[in-house]
């Protein structure tokens, strides 16, 4: 033992001898009541004890358990008396006494007085026990108190378990989510681009149908710079007359712009097409 045990230990040592004989005195709540003077605890120690109660229900449970009372046959007279002693002590110590403690005192007093009233003969026997509600509350609170302790003891993060992580390899790269673009934005952009073009009016505006321009792109893509492609390979019979015309116009346009070269070995022979390699400079 150290010279100066912590206050809380002192309190336990000194309070327990006082409370030990109590269970012997209270059997089924029908025994003599203790005297308040017996309950001497050094004031500063008591303060620590009292502050550990979570409220009146907790204090009542403490009193009941300490004296091994059966909660179902709650000896209301004794409990009330002891409870009031604690409440008085708290007052004496000028502890900030929560209103809940006084409310409980009132409830206990009411239950006690109802118990003292003679029972009416015609009353249904069990329904009228004035302690019932208090007992229910005590049991309910005790159940919650117990699971709260269990919860506190359960393995939990930060204290008992830690999550394991591994670093992604350097080659892991987040997938890029590309922005959405609407057709309307595209059209408005075209409009704004053209509006900006101050010199627009002086420029020659190409009159080709867009489908011809599209076909021009397609043909340029299909035709190689290095090999000749058969002229007729560029036409798709399935496109019908209009398709053939568009393709033909596109080829003429490309030839005109010196983008395509046409070669024909002899009259009526197959025409071949190649991306122009003419250097004009």
């Amino acid at each position: 033992m150290t010279d100066q045990p912590p206050i809380i230990d002192q309190a336990k040592e000194q309070s327990e001898p006082v409370q030990q004989p109590l269970p012997l005195a209270f059997v089924n709540g029908e025994a003599v009541i203790d005297k308040p003077e017996d309950l001497y605890i050094p004031p500063d120690a008591l303060e620590v004890i009292l502050e550990t109660f979570e409220g009146p229900l907790d204090l009542l449970l403490y009193l009941i358990r300490k004296q091994k009372f059966d909660i179902v046959n709650l000896p209301i007279l004794q409990i009330t008396k002891q409870y009031m002693e604690y409440v008085d002590l708290m007052k004496d110590l000028k502890l900030e006494l929560a209103a809940e403690y006084l409310l409980m005192a009132a409830i206990l007093a009411e239950v006690k007085s109802r118990l003292l009233l003679p029972k009416r003969q015609d009353a249904e026997e069990d329904e009228d026990d004035p302690r019932a509600e208090l007992i229910r509350r005590l049991k309910e609170y005790e159940a919650i108190k117990k699971v709260a302790e269990e919860l506190d003891n359960m393995p939990r993060q930060e204290r008992d378990l830690f999550t394991g992580h591994a670093a992604p390899d350097e080659s892991v790269e987040p997938i890029k989510v590309l922005p959405d673009v609407t057709l309307q934005e595209l059209v408005l952009s075209f409009q704004s681009a053209l509006k900006k073009a101050k010199a627009f009016e002086h420029h020659h505006i190409e009159r080709e149908a867009l489908s011809t321009r599209e076909r021009m792109s397609m043909i340029l893509e299909r035709v190689s710079r290095h090999h000749f492609t058969g002229f007729d390979e560029l036409f798709e019979a399935s496109e019908g007359k209009a398709g053939v015309v568009v393709t033909f116009l596109a080829i003429l346009e490309l030839v005109k712009e010196n983008l395509l070269e046409l070669v024909q070995g002899e009259p009526y022979a197959n025409i071949h097409v190649k991306v122009s390699s003419v250097q004009e400079w």
Partner: protein, 220 residues
């Protein structure tokens, strides 16, 4: 690769859970790393079971918590592992734990109802701390005067305590009412607890319903 061997699948799932920022559900695995691979539910289940077994003898374990699968250290190693951090492990007061327990076992519950059971008022500090830890959230409002907030626990709460669902919480003592007690009320309470613990979905529906009621009322 549109198909993947069982061994490759295991490696991929293992790596994914390890590098993920939080727990991963099977659905998340299917929608991300397994997206273009034809992996059946059964194959994935098998890979997870095998991984769980592989890691049993190791210092790190594969566990399923509310938000999915994660690896976590064996709890027997915590006395040594905790030396890696200098900060003190947060401790929670009894008042805090009792409030949390009431919300966990009796959700959805109002602050007033918590106070009724505990017999003392619940400080705002407690509610704030629990909310900030993302352990509790407001899931609706009770249609009684004052429309008090209804609190429930979150998935993060379950994750923190390494639980898959509320059903895994330690069982709460279902007190047998004294003979002369108000049976009906007690049974009702016990029933409520059961429902809350074992059927979180039901609870949420109730909350939604009450929310709808609220909206309807607001319209008038």
């Amino acid at each position: 690769m549109a198909k993947i061997s069982a061994a490759q699948l295991k490696q991929l799932v293992e790596a994914a859970i390890f590098v993920a920022d939080g727990p991963l559900t099977k659905e998340q695995l299917q929608n991300t790393v397994l997206q273009d691979l034809k992996v059946s539910k059964k194959q994935l289940d098998e890979a997870l079971v095998e991984l769980e077994l592989d890691y049993r003898p190791r210092g790190i374990q594969l566990v399923e918590v509310a938000s999915g699968y994660r690896f976590q250290s064996m709890d027997s190693l915590s006395p040594w592992l905790s030396k890696m951090w200098h900060e003190h492990v947060p401790r929670y007061s009894r008042a805090m734990m009792e409030t949390l327990a009431l919300i966990a076992y009796r959700q959805p519950i109002t602050r007033g109802e918590i106070e009724d059971v505990r017999g003392v008022s619940v400080s705002s500090h407690i509610i704030k701390t629990l909310s900030e830890r993302d352990w509790i959230k407001i899931v609706g409002h009770k249609e009684v005067p004052g429309r008090p907030a209804l609190y429930a626990t979150t998935r993060q709460f379950l994750d923190y305590f390494s639980l898959k669902s509320l059903a895994e919480l330690p069982p709460i003592e279902e007190f047998v009412p004294p003979e002369q007690d108000d049976d009906e009320l007690t049974l009702h309470l016990a029933q409520e607890i059961n429902q809350t613990v074992s059927a979180p979905q039901d609870t949420s529906t109730d909350v939604n319903e009450s929310e709808q009621t609220i909206n309807q009322e607001q319209l008038h």
